[in-house]
Symmetry: C2
Subunit: 485 residues, 2 copies
């Protein structure tokens, strides 16, 4: 009997299915993807402009590498140096996002480029686990700036920090701090605290959690899960609570234990040098030497840094929502909006002769920046313009379509951003309404009388002021009034 009922239901389902169609389906984008509407795109464009202007101000060139790389490139199979296991940080599937330094290093080795200052902004894709509520989309932007070349110590490193400072200041995301540390200081610290060599990496990744969990939890993980001695853990605990500037680097150089590590001393000497350059760049107000900063990627060899927003209120909530509870794939951790460091060994891995090209770079967490800017725009009373139109060519009278088109073409040909309604006889009110809606500041109104007099009535939308402008002076007048657009 049950079988019979099931059969009936199935049949019913088929019948209903046949009736599905136009009225049943829901249109949607592919899982983990979304559309961007004009308002979102206008915000993105503003962010891109700010960031790219900064990169250009610093003399950077632009290169583009393909969105997918060969598996050999991603898994680091080319090289023999077991120190770099790139598979640790990401799955080697063709479509997963790779740390953008990998294609860059491959590019340098392949094209025998030994020095370059470049930026690269591109969409990348992840294959797995989209989680849109947490801002984990399958399609997202990566934004990178890198300086490659053999130079005197810490000068390009300081410029990277200056760039982060400029970008975050100009974007007005709220107050921020840039934490700085050095892979060599971390390794030296682990050594003098008695961490066995083979545990450096795992202990380092536990320390990396200090921005999310308490010291007690980190200590417990070190001791209980990773088998570190309590003494070693406590010694680490004392160091990683330290924050400061050049003074701290100087103090640690005198530190009885720390000074025993050659590596740590090299890192600390460079840290002092870095801060002296940061002073010249006037950015020390935001930069802090923080021994608890331990970025994940194994290929960092020297200075590492990460910028976080410190302001509480609506903005950080948005940021937190966007990556809560996990390390964001884009190379920036929770709350962070930029990060990077020095990776002197990566290019050598790809070079057939192992030739090294020292590199230092920074990734901007541009997707997080976008979502913060979007939230700010939502909260603000100011309207986001989605076009740059300077003037609307309008008429109050009938049968003037041709005259409107003629004038509009004149304006286009003179480089003026102009719109005209695609109607034969639109109402003046609807033409003015369109200007209000989309923020067009000026209206050029044509009528029989204006045509006879060789003038155009130029109306300022917000003040409703109108003046007659001679037709041959119109372009100049529009340019003058919209020179800030």
């Amino acid at each position: 009997m049950i079988d019979e009922e099931v059969a009936k239901l199935l049949e019913l389902k088929v019948q209903l299915g046949g009736d599905e169609g136009r009225h049943q389906f829901t249109l949607k984008t592919a899982k983990g993807t979304r559309d961007y509407n004009p308002k979102q795109m206008a915000i993105r464009e503003k962010v891109f402009n700010t960031i790219i202007s900064c990169f250009k101000r610093h003399g950077a060139e632009n290169i583009d590498t393909p969105v997918f790389e060969l598996k050999e490139t991603l898994t680091g199979k080319y090289g023999e140096d077991s120190k770099y296991d790139l598979t640790v940080s990401f799955k080697p599937t063709v479509l997963d996002p790779t740390p953008s330094q990998v294609p860059f290093a491959r590019y340098l080795a392949m094209n025998k480029v030994t020095n370059i200052k470049r930026y690269h902004i591109a969409k990348v894709y992840r294959r797995d686990n989209p989680a849109m509520t947490r801002g984990r989309y399958r399609e997202f932007y990566q934004c990178d700036f890198d300086i490659a070349g053999q130079y005197d110590p810490m000068i390009p490193d300081a410029e990277c920090l200056k760039i982060v400072h400029e970008i975050l200041s100009e974007l007005e995301l709220g107050d921020f701090r840039i934490k700085v540390n050095d892979r060599r200081i971390l390794d030296g610290m682990f050594a003098v605290c008695g961490v066995p060599d083979d545990k450096f990496r795992t202990i380092c990744s536990t320390v990396d959690k200090l921005d999310k969990v308490s010291w007690e939890d980190v200590r417990s993980e070190m001791v209980k899960e990773k088998g570190l001695s309590e003494e070693a853990a406590d010694q680490i605990g004392q160091y990683v609570s330290l924050q400061g500037g050049m003074d701290l680097a100087e103090r640690l150089l005198q530190d009885a234990k720390m000074s025993q590590s050659k590596q740590a001393c090299a890192g600390l000497t460079d840290m002092k040098q870095l801060f002296s350059y940061l002073q010249l760049f006037q950015v020390t107000d935001k930069v802090v030497f923080d021994l608890s900063l331990a970025r994940g990627l194994d290929y960092y060899t020297g200075v590492i840094y990460e910028a976080i927003l410190t302001q509480t209120g609506p903005v950080p909530v948005a940021a937190a929502q966007n990556g809560a509870g996990e390390k964001a794939e884009e190379g920036v951790s929770v709350g962070s909006v930029a990060g990077g460091g020095r990776y002197d060994g990566l290019v050598g891995m790809f070079d057939p002769k192992g030739r090294k090209v020292p590199c230092v770079g920074v990734s901007i967490g541009i997707e997080r920046v976008f979502s913060i800017m979007e939230q700010k725009a939502e909260a603000s009373a100011e309207k986001v313009r989605t076009t740059e139109t300077q003037v609307m060519v309008a008429s109050a009278q009938k049968n003037l379509l041709e005259e409107r088109l003629r004038l509009t073409a004149e304006l286009w040909n003179a480089g003026i951003k102009a719109e005209v309604m695609y109607k034969k006889n639109p109402k003046l009110l609807s033409q003015l309404q369109h200007c209000e809606d989309s923020g067009i500041p000026l209206v050029a109104i044509l009528g029989e009388q204006e045509l006879k007099d060789g003038v155009v009535k130029l109306r300022t939308v917000h003040s409703r002021e109108e003046i007659d402008v001679s037709r041959d002076k119109l372009v100049e007048e529009i340019k003058r009034r919209t020179s800030d657009v």
Copy 2:
């Protein structure tokens, strides 16, 4: 014995394989992909700027849709109208490039947008058959402009042609022509020439070959392969040899046969209207009504157009190399650099209630434009700058790194694009050489004397002229001298 030999060879191969390593591998990008170096990127940026400026001048908004769409969207399964079989034109695999009108139509239907003027420039991907020698890459750009909305006839259509005219003129690719026709005129022509209804589409795709093969070949394909009568083929032959402007549209409206088709008359009346608007826009010099133009995609419902470069010489050769012998996937055919038309039915296909949103748009064959611009740059003596740096901060003396960094930061903070060498004591010659190499026009030279006097020696690279500029006037002076950068 053979088995033994094979085993030996295999063993040998394994041994050799074990010896492969650093010195054996060749670095490369994934099949069908390539890197873009700074020079190529600078050319791309220039092209993008020209095109985007034009779109913005016409009041367009920017939207972004994901690079992949659901299969249901691509195959047009949502709709019931069998007229639109989107699978004809492309394989419905997620990563293959789709005519960009499809995601746009899906966006409009999904977001209930009934009118918008938008552009969309994005990288897209094809899964199969890269053929790099013919410019068929797996990763390439699509560039689209579309106007959606219910408007009076032919006004937005004329604006699309005006946009093509503006872009091709500004890019200075050489002389060009924009062919125009109308799907209704084609269909009407087929009807009055005696083509059976069910052969319209296949005959249309044969006519579409007229830009590549002779009329004789086209006629032979119609008659021998497609079974059309010789009389019908010859009648078509007379029509498709016709080219003209508004006059031709008028003549055909009087044509004994053509005037029997209501569809053709509607198309011809609109063609007259279109040319009257094109006259107002002053673009009729390049636009030709050409009855042989028959673009492939089935969803065109009205006017169709295609821009081709007409100049002979190095430029068209490059263009031909880029897609010889086949229709380019980007929606533009051989030799063509832009194409588009009206598609009034596509949005309705995606709308649950079948609501129609008339659309007209144009795709710019931006990859072909890139490769033509690259070839032009190769042929030209003029150097392509890959940075926008205005000034190099330099010194002829030792121990002035800190002073150089301080001044550079001052310039960055004032919005000046400035570079400084990352060396403690670089030679003046190598600093000047860098300016020559990368086209930096100015050098700000610091020395002990200049520091004492509160001045900077400002050197013009090309003339080698040097003047002392007071430090507090430096920013202004650099801006004045590089105002065209």
